[in-house]
Subunit: 362 residues, 2 copies
């Protein structure tokens, strides 16, 4: 795995768009030989052949903030779209310490041993702050990082959650077009990002540890109800009894929830990532889930709903950005917020005030 965004050859990524642009030259640096980027069509061709270097380059374009790169990236995505969709998209979450990396490593190897290819992506909007907190360190996935069938890509560097999620979703399209038939999307179980991941995967796996109440502080409320499967890690040695108890507790808790829309009753299993125990059982569950939702039509319904969701989510985010990033709006809003917080202005007249102001700006 190469971290292409840190590769100097890409630091000035130029696009062969047909329009010649004068390069920005720093006279104190020796000019670097720069491999020109292939055209969108050439890249699509490479992706469809499963060429990993081309795939990596395309993902780098997707993640680029440059409008020129974005334009090429969008062209590539549109062209890959008809070849996408043929994968199992699996979201994996769990608090730090639950053993996500080791688990993904062994789950991933199990999947690869059954044939096919695996892409491991991640969503962590905080990745700039805590550089390398998630998938940043490829040594965390020893087995997968050297496996020819695995493509590992860290979280796009920080931005709004919406932006990071969009890039990951677009990367899924490219990976699928390149023939990756299993996609893992990893996320940390502590923020808003689970909702984003949940909205782009078919199956949502929650990794838990034995423990109750305070020990689970880290995990966000509501995540348990999103899970299609809960797996309790570190069910080994002295810990087996605790893991089994946790399993019983989670099972009993899930009974109190209504059956999800999928009609699938989430299962609770125990395993050990470190000792590689119970891995096939976890994967059997996931296989059964896919059989189940493909048979009852939920699989397709969910995918269509997700595509629709991302369209509206993108629109809404942009509408908000246009508004909140307006410097005059920002300034006035700060003072209105103070009035609302001090109860001298109602939330609703404050909102009307700023909306009228915004309308007057245009």
């Amino acid at each position: 795995m190469q971290h292409i965004e840190n590769d100097p050859a890409y630091s000035g990524l130029t696009v062969n768009s047909g329009v010649a642009q004068p390069p920005v030259v720093n006279p104190y640096l020796k000019p670097r030989r720069r491999k020109p980027l292939p055209s969108a069509s050439e890249m699509v061709e490479g992706i469809l052949k499963g060429d990993v270097t081309t795939l990596s380059r395309a993902v780098t374009l997707v993640e680029s903030l440059s409008p020129a790169h974005q334009a090429v990236a969008q062209e590539i995505i549109e062209k890959c779209l008809p070849y996408s969709g043929n994968s199992r998209r699996i979201g994996i979450t769990g608090v730090p310490g639950a053993g996500k990396s080791t688990s993904i490593d062994v789950f991933g190897l199990h999947v690869l041993n059954k044939g096919g290819k695996l892409a491991v992506l991640a969503i962590d909007p905080s990745s700039e702050r805590t550089k390398g907190s998630i998938l940043g360190d490829k040594t965390r996935m020893e087995k997968l990082s050297t496996h020819p069938g695995a493509f590992i890509r860290p979280s796009p560097s920080a931005g709004s959650l919406g932006g990071v999620a969009r890039k990951t979703r677009e990367t899924i399209v490219l990976c699928e077009a390149a023939g990756y038939d299993n996609i893992f999307v990893e996320t940390v179980g502590v923020g808003q990002s689970e909702t984003a991941v949940h909205s782009m995967v078919d199956f949502f796996l929650l990794i838990q540890l034995a423990g109750t109440g305070d020990e689970l502080q880290g995990i966000k409320r509501g995540i348990m109800e999103m899970a299609d499967g809960i797996v309790i890690n570190k069910a080994d040695g002295d810990n087996i009894d605790r893991a089994r108890l946790a399993q019983a507790q989670f099972r009993s808790a899930l009974h109190l929830f209504p059956t999800p829309e999928s009609g699938w009753s989430p299962e609770v299993l125990t395993y050990s990532g470190y000792y590689e125990l119970g891995i096939p059982e976890v994967w059997d569950m996931i296989d059964r889930y896919f059989d189940f939702v493909k048979a009852n039509g939920f699989f397709d319904r969910k995918r269509a709903g997700q595509a629709r969701y991302w369209m509206y989510e993108t629109i809404d985010e942009q509408l908000r950005n246009n508004f909140y990033r307006n410097p005059q709006v920002e300034q006035r809003l700060a003072s209105l917020e103070q009035q609302v917080l001090s109860n001298t202005r109602s939330s609703f007249t404050a909102a009307r005030d700023i909306l009228d102001f915004y309308a007057s700006l245009r």
Copy 2:
């Protein structure tokens, strides 16, 4: 309780705004004698004196769709705002059949017997469709409906959830200014409205019945984690054992959730609304909650956060409305959505297309 919105005297509600406006006269109808509405200041005076008729009229203005009424309503709300906030706002939810009405009736009477006044409001965005489904029929609350200290108001008639919730939140301000020191906000536990109610109350009470899994189908996922207290109704006669079992199950499930931000561990109690058993215990729990969150500062933090939330929520809703209610946008969006659903267009380029189109309209 009068349903003023159905009172013919109010069907043409005119506002004494100082500006004379020619009335619209239908020559085939005899002119009705119409009591002119007092000015905003006069109404605020009446509200602060606790005059129920004035309060009802003001709420009717809040609920009115007429811009003239809305202007007066906003003036009244702003003037009442400094006198608001001195109540305990309690959200009450539960699936149909859980016995919400009977419970609110006995809980309400219990509260009133301790002194003070009680307003019972409701949020049910579907109320137009299922007229009278919630609080519509005052006979559902036998004891409260005849109690001089109770003010019962059905859900504002249908509209967007945001609109209905806004009106209820504004009504809370008016009720508090009128001296109601306990506010119940009832909602049905099946839709999006719980989130709205949760965002306007201090304490969120979930009424459950004994039963697991399929029997709880009706309740929305995620609601259990919003609850500050879960109370299991119909703990009487033959049903006591089942209710106690459910209590144990819910308690055990709650242990798997992290402690809420309030620091308060949600409690699970049993009671019988019909036989009026266990009512003081439920109320003691709520008293303890208020003592707890007032002592640790969460009460004020939550209220400030809610005021901020509603400001941003109102802004976002309006930004969306401006966009989605544009007829040209609506038309183009329908065709884009089809392309996204058929996987011929990515969610993101479809979003960009419609946003560019929207920008070109202005």
